[in-house]
Symmetry: C2
Subunit: 356 residues, 2 copies
């Protein structure tokens, strides 16, 4: 049985998307159980619409919910022990749920998860891993914005965690890993990235294959399965890609309506556009996964509809099913042991000074 | 008369693209004069094909040329005083040319330009400014990879220089400027970016309008005329956008060939695809402009054809015509004076420590 706790109130559409999404996955995911957290008066009427959920879920009413515009510190102060988001996360901490999913306020979700679940002993810093549609299939990119800057050790932790997530989702034995940089030559880039590359090359790991540096255009190509970067560049890359896709969509859309022939052409080739939309659809691979904590928390896009939210649930389900957390913990532990036997000095002071 | 020195040997196609590009612009740019630098045996035969250039150019044979695979330090050692790239840059230094254009090795071009022309007294660090096609029209993004990391002062210098370039190219009196960040709220992001935002807000400048922080997806939207960032994120953003555009192009291309109807649809709507191609064409706005040096140097895409190279020449011509260098120098000087009267402490040690 896989138990999923859901902050029903989160996201632009609240229960209409989150509960509908949960109902949708019951069609194809067996042995699933939901813990729904939210305001009674809002959630109950929506729950009634989905009788299929009655026997495989329980509803836990909460006092409040975390609003989309609350600052992380404010959300933590107001919501601790009270809000639907807090309770959904706490269910993972208390072992009542295996994974928590929310489409709510990202900053608040990160702050509450960090505060409630705490860091894994094996990792230094949390990261958000996103699934990126590529020409080959899909890649995992992390960190896409949990924190800013990262030392070499933290980048290596991201590599190990990202590879673990890729294995759990796609059953690849040795996912390929690249470090995002401004050139593929070993001499280029930030000190932390170069050192992380050196560590990954020398401490050979069973669970991943380090391929060296990759550049921004390699992400969309799918050159590697896992792209590792610190949260600032990761976030810039993600949003720039989204912006470019939207820009192309809008130009094409207005160009297609500009004449009778192009409109007719659009009509005839709409299957091709559906393929494009499907392949680039953020809802299809919806879900930023918070890694590095003592529990798995997934952030769905705030604008996700029922299908999008269902996709976040599917990702969480698959990862729990494949024992992601245990695998990551074991990988990190093994990696740190290997590293120590290679006598790497972990002088954190020097590390931090040289972040750039 | 606007005098343009060209490293004829640079780029994937050498003289076949660079000289052909020069010939092309003579059709619409008056009062232009070219100084061509390159190997005699390679350049002479190509020059003969373009009699229109005979009276408005001179050819200066050089001993060698800078290869695409040379490292910057190597290129500087081998090429100093000898290569076509060096001589083209030196022509600007000696006042024989107003702007230098090369499609050659980027690292070498930057190193030679920096070494030969030296930094402006008013700027701390060079930046490469790129022209980015947007939904609104075009924006300038800098730095897209000259250096890594930037202090608050350096980011502000980029803002002033980028706005100067925008005014010189697009005749907008007060271009809007945004700082690239991971959120638009004032509390988010790196220390250097937050401080740069504070300086830009307080030291109000005649030549630009500071609009606050922008995110990756704002670049393609054209939210602001000038997007300011340090070279690492700028380069990641640029390459990620290029990668995404190529990814969408490839998916659409193969989807359009997948059935008879979609192929027919493509045929009917090919005008719309031409519009898209034109709007997103990197050749149309080809040219990374090195700013902050005592002279203007433009890097054309290595893969630019004659049209692409012509577009880099046109950008250089327009900027010289509108007195870019003098304007930027005056702007920077005025800005630093304003800043001093506002008693900003320029404690560089603190700055550098807090880059992240």
């Amino acid at each position: 049985m896989i138990r999923i706790s859901i902050d029903v109130m989160g996201g632009d559409y609240g229960p209409e998307a989150t509960i509908a999404g949960a109902a949708r996955v019951t069609e194809y995911l067996p042995n699933i159980y939901f813990l729904f957290y939210g305001l009674e008066e809002t959630v109950k009427p929506v729950l009634k619409k989905y009788p299929c959920l009655a026997s495989i879920s329980c509803f836990c009413p909460t006092e409040s919910y975390t609003r989309m515009d609350e600052k992380p510190s404010q959300a933590l102060r107001n919501g601790r022990g009270k809000s639907s988001m807090w309770h959904a996360i706490e269910a993972v901490k208390n072992g009542e749920a295996d994974v928590c999913i929310s489409a709510g306020n990202t900053g608040a979700l990160m702050a509450m998860s960090y505060f409630c679940l705490k860091m894994m002993a094996e990792a230094e810093r949390p990261g958000i891993a996103g699934i990126w549609p590529t020409l080959r299939s899909e890649s995992i990119v992390l960190d896409i914005g949990a924190t800013i800057g990262a030392s070499a050790n933290q980048l290596v932790d991201f590599a190990v965690m990202g590879a673990g997530m890729f294995r759990a989702l796609y059953h690849t034995e040795k996912p390929s890993v690249g470090l995002l940089n401004v050139g593929v030559e070993e001499v280029k880039g930030l000190y932390a990235i170069k050192k992380a590359g050196m560590i990954l090359r020398e401490v050979q790991l069973e669970g991943l294959e380090y391929k060296g540096f990759v550049e921004g255009n390699d992400i969309g190509k799918g050159t590697v399965d896992v792209v590792v970067t610190e949260g600032f560049s990761g976030n810039i890359a993600l949003k720039t890609a989204e912006g470019t896709a939207r820009q192309i969509g809008e130009i094409l859309n207005s160009a297609m309506r500009s004449s009778f022939f192009s409109s007719l052409g659009y009509f005839l080739s709409r299957g091709a556009f559906r393929t494009l939309k499907h392949k680039m659809d953020p809802d299809r691979v919806n879900g930023g996964v918070l890694l590095g904590l003592n529990g798995i928390v997934i952030k769905s896009h705030g604008s996700a509809n029922a299908d999008g939210f269902a996709s976040a649930i599917r990702i969480g389900y698959t990862m729990v099913h494949n024992g992601l957390l245990k695998k990551i913990t074991a990988d990190l532990r093994r990696f740190h042991q290997n590293k120590q036997t290679l006598f790497y000095k972990e002088d954190k002071a020097t590390e931090n000074e040289k972040i750039i």
